[in-house]
Symmetry: D4
Subunit: 148 residues, 8 copies
Amino acid sequence: MLTVYLSGEIHTDWREEIEAGAEGLGVTFTAPVTDHEASDDCGVAILGAEPDKFWHDHKGAKLNAIRTRHGIETADIVVVRFGEKYRQWNAAFDAGYAAALGKPLIVVSLPEHQHALKEVHAAALAVCDQPGQVAQILRYVLTGKLPV
Amino acid sequence: MLTVYLSGEIHTDWREEIEAGAEGLGVTFTAPVTDHEASDDCGVAILGAEPDKFWHDHKGAKLNAIRTRHGIETADIVVVRFGEKYRQWNAAFDAGYAAALGKPLIVVSLPEHQHALKEVHAAALAVCDQPGQVAQILRYVLTGKLPV
Amino acid sequence: MLTVYLSGEIHTDWREEIEAGAEGLGVTFTAPVTDHEASDDCGVAILGAEPDKFWHDHKGAKLNAIRTRHGIETADIVVVRFGEKYRQWNAAFDAGYAAALGKPLIVVSLPEHQHALKEVHAAALAVCDQPGQVAQILRYVLTGKLPV
Amino acid sequence: MLTVYLSGEIHTDWREEIEAGAEGLGVTFTAPVTDHEASDDCGVAILGAEPDKFWHDHKGAKLNAIRTRHGIETADIVVVRFGEKYRQWNAAFDAGYAAALGKPLIVVSLPEHQHALKEVHAAALAVCDQPGQVAQILRYVLTGKLPV
Amino acid sequence: MLTVYLSGEIHTDWREEIEAGAEGLGVTFTAPVTDHEASDDCGVAILGAEPDKFWHDHKGAKLNAIRTRHGIETADIVVVRFGEKYRQWNAAFDAGYAAALGKPLIVVSLPEHQHALKEVHAAALAVCDQPGQVAQILRYVLTGKLPV
Amino acid sequence: MLTVYLSGEIHTDWREEIEAGAEGLGVTFTAPVTDHEASDDCGVAILGAEPDKFWHDHKGAKLNAIRTRHGIETADIVVVRFGEKYRQWNAAFDAGYAAALGKPLIVVSLPEHQHALKEVHAAALAVCDQPGQVAQILRYVLTGKLPV
Amino acid sequence: MLTVYLSGEIHTDWREEIEAGAEGLGVTFTAPVTDHEASDDCGVAILGAEPDKFWHDHKGAKLNAIRTRHGIETADIVVVRFGEKYRQWNAAFDAGYAAALGKPLIVVSLPEHQHALKEVHAAALAVCDQPGQVAQILRYVLTGKLPV
Amino acid sequence: MLTVYLSGEIHTDWREEIEAGAEGLGVTFTAPVTDHEASDDCGVAILGAEPDKFWHDHKGAKLNAIRTRHGIETADIVVVRFGEKYRQWNAAFDAGYAAALGKPLIVVSLPEHQHALKEVHAAALAVCDQPGQVAQILRYVLTGKLPV
């Protein structure tokens, strides 16, 4: 009966991979909106157009914050995935947010980002590079069973 | 009698610029260790060498966390500067950490990073691109005086 | 499975409009007592008459506070509606109360009140003028779907 | 050695009246910026002009929030004054903010606003209509002496 | 779906009176152990006899604290009843405990105790002298209906 | 550099006894207003007369709460003295308030009240019957020296 | 509907004894992983081998912390058992962790450890030496029934 | 201007070693009472003799808790030293207490205790075996200077 928030990269199927690996454990997974376009434009689509890109993005980021902060604050565990593309400052922001709330943090990242992520890794209870390892962690945490 | 933590970029003199601009206001400025080499190697220098780069960095990042978390937690305002170089995930992490603690957040960033920083900007009470503006904000917040 | 507290104006059907628009989302809506007369007289009706209007109102306001604070404190999102009539200080009070607790705040207000509400708006994650937009926000936050 | 935040009305000299009445008590008084024009324009003056009045006000209200939230959060007592003019939703917002943080709240208001302020009054530890009474309260709280 | 903790007097049937009056509201009522003898002797009965009355009582009071603190901390509303007999310091202690946690407090007390209870009353959102009034308050808070 | 709040009985000189015994330790002692008459009448003296004794006392108790809650909340240690006279529910209320905030609690009480105070004693880190023992505790806590 | 975390010794069947004794009470019991080998090796089994025993253990201890901290933080009561073997610093650590969170703490320990555990006992609401007594406590706390 | 609490072993001069190494840094060091006999007997010396060793120790441990919890709660950093002798459950308890409060934790321990302390180490930001390393950490954290 754990709730796990899956933050970060939205362009690969890592969330599905974890969910498949955690099947049968009764975990509830939450996540940000992963439709990139909707996520970018939600603010102006609902609250009205903005000629200035800053406020266009500002309105959207605040709407998304309603979901993401709720997701982090109600999670038992927060997983943050850093992928290959983009600057991913929102992923690092979520990791800091989760750390300050004392949430157990699991980071999934690439070996080539090791040095750049050292402060984020230092705040994590587990660091891995494959989403499947997150599922193994959840299985161990909930059942005490290790992968064979 | 404000304490202001200056997080982020350590390769330009933006901290000195803010401190100069805030002269006479009685602000106490705190910051991470800005000696890049010391910051990278502090863990092994004090706690013993590590053959594996991950643990080398891990030891250092945790020592630095003693300073940075204390700095953020005892600050009245947290300023985070995103510069031109590196991935700067630690800056975004600090911003998330400060936001979760409810600290007033001021972000100093470059126009070309606007879209990538939209979630961080959405959590800030002020976004600017010049360190001098931070000094102006501090002067206004403390004295009510605007720049002429 | 969100709980949303609908604070403010009690003389129009804006709550019903939001509830209709959010149908099927599984949102639980809470609100103050919206029967104006009962809300004004509850204190003396239950706890005994008061000759002084101040204490008459005081007893009632405290009984209502049992409901409103519980509503705000257990909500995932707080929506505050400023209407056309009355001074509505209780609405602004609720907004401040919600903001201090870190609750995501959505404000529904009239264009002519923009300047007077700027401090309240600055604390909100969304500002709109139609109740229907609140329903759209809730739909987006829960499902990622934007209005067509 | 109390710190008292004086929120609300900025067009009369009520703050000076309290400060004069509390002379010799060693109270530190804090307050929002009371220069109306600076308070309205601080955002654009420091962070750049905005064609849209909403964002003009938004930038300013957020800068002012750095000062006002710090003032409320570090105060031992919060005094909120409701005057004759304007809608004063920021005053009610501050009262709600202070109440949620558990700050002792003193309200100074006009008799004709009694009914409209009943929820705010219900959250206060003292309600009065003269600033001089606030000074008397502070003197009593600090020294146990009542007015002669 | 409120949880209401009923603290205080254990020698009359005031709890049953409230529960009967609140029938159909879906309120969950919690309370201390109301079997006086069991409450007094639970410590030594389970943890072993004590020759010294102080430690006899100490062991029991701590066991009871497991239940009472859990009851107060998980309650949405705390009701404290002061009856005619005994010193009832535990009732006043519970009231202070609830107040410090920000729990809405309802006090049921006798007119002759008015002056002696003034500090406790000042922390309450409602003061009454009949248990039936508590049921009326709960009905109003949950349904908005006043007694006819 | 400890701050110690001395709650409870106001009709004997137990506070002076503790202060004398703790001389030279650098402890700051705080306390409620101990002028019984001023404490009873402060509300109406400053905020206006009330024909009803309940509201007369209510106004006063709330003014006193400004001082007493500040005293408890800023104390490092809370001492509560139960004397021979009166019902002293405010003392027990303060003890509960302090306990809920996690403040170290020292109780000074009479042997004949042992059973009636068992819940309060169970929340205390020390129980004694002489004020001089409180001074000895403070000396030990600050210097490690025991009475000879 | 209590949740009880059973921390400490993993080499005897004390948990089963408590669970059997608490049958029918509706208590949910949680615990660390009690498979000693899995608990020791979980880190490297999932996250990769470490040549250095310190990091081998570090990875494992952090994975286990995901479970144990969640267990303590979501528990209504924390029971810590000190057995005959090993140093059991993790049990004492859990007791301190629970105490700092204000969780009701029950300690099950051996008479010969009385002096060495005095600080842990001082933080507990009950100290006993038989697991069956824990079941009796739970039964009393939930039903008010004492053992016959 | 850091405050550092030095918990644990009281039979060697490790505290003096750290204080000497940190000379000139302006650190305030706090600690438990390190006079073993006074620490054991303080309870009965001040509060009266107890025939039962459990209560003898209980009274003392609670008095010591006034000092140790205050020390941990007001510290910026908590250092816990595990020495060669005794079971040192109070040291592990303090470490857990500090961890739950989010205090940066530094552990000084012996290599032969590595496996037994793995849960405590996992909660620490630094693990070392020489007190002098703690002084080096404090110097680095405060000045950015590494040992030569």
